[in-house]
């Protein structure tokens, strides 16, 4: 699975992109957040307020946290958008 981080999340994690094999029990966005928290304090830090983190699956917004990751190739985590 390719995971992308943007803006201040990228700065806290320390990198913008990784390729990673997710464990079989990570089936939803919620599961992913729980699993990421266990990877170290840089992940815990940006997941302190999980409600403000936006998630896109294969470049489409996924607002529901119980959305399945089955078949997904690219997950992106980012703060609320401030373009325009």
């Amino acid at each position: 699975m390719k995971i992308l981080y943007f803006a201040w999340i990228k700065e806290r994690v320390g990198f913008g992109e990784e390729d990673i094999d997710l464990p079989a029990e990570v089936k939803t966005i919620d599961n992913l957040f729980t699993w990421l928290r266990g990877r170290g304090e840089e992940f815990e830090a940006f997941l302190e307020q999980p409600d403000i983190i936006r998630v896109a699956l294969d470049q489409v917004h996924a607002p529901e946290r119980d959305t399945s990751l089955a078949g997904v190739r690219e997950i992106a985590l980012f703060p609320p958008m401030t373009g325009g």
Binding site: H61, F78, P79, T82, G84
Partner: protein, 154 residues
């Protein structure tokens, strides 16, 4: 009316609105109204050195296109263009342009306005402000007024 022309560009380079409008109206005599919006980098205090615009390549274009397609379902548009810059942008420079063309003026006004409102809150771009005084910039917070601007389209 023919299928609307949709053009989405994410680029560092600046744009020329007059050229863009000329391109989309060239050879067509069915366009009576063109509305353009340009968003510029403000700096009322004089404290900003530059804005840095980060984006999600691929999704940025795809998401703006999805919004543009929604707009084309809602209004009879002949063409819809969005150009969003990324990278370093100085005070007074352009950040974004949206152009909507139609037979009549209200559709062009509404199409451009709608595209901007949704682009603001849904297109994956993030602004960091680099102040003149400080080497480390600050990420801009999302604005509640941008979220509530969407209500007018319900």
């Amino acid at each position: 009316m023919a299928e609307p022309v949709i053009k989405i560009q994410v680029q560092h380079a600046d744009f020329d609105l007059n050229d863009e409008i000329r391109q989309l109206t060239a050879g067509r005599h069915d366009i009576g109204a063109v509305v353009s919006f340009s968003g510029l980098c403000r700096d009322e205090d004089g404290t900003l050195a530059a804005l840095e615009l980060e984006h999600y390549p691929g999704m940025a274009e795809a998401e703006i296109r999805r919004i543009a397609e929604q707009a084309c379902k809602r209004w009879p548009l002949a063409a819809l263009v969005a150009i969003h810059r990324h990278g370093k942008i100085l005070p007074g420079e352009n950040i974004v342009a949206v152009i909507a063309a139609s037979k009549h003026r209200q559709a062009a006004f509404d199409g451009a306005n709608y595209l901007m409102d949704f682009l603001k809150t849904r297109a994956p771009f993030w602004k960091k402000e680099h102040p003149k005084s400080n080497t480390e910039g600050e990420w801009v917070s999302a604005s509640d007024s941008d979220d509530s601007a969407l209500n007018k389209w319900d």
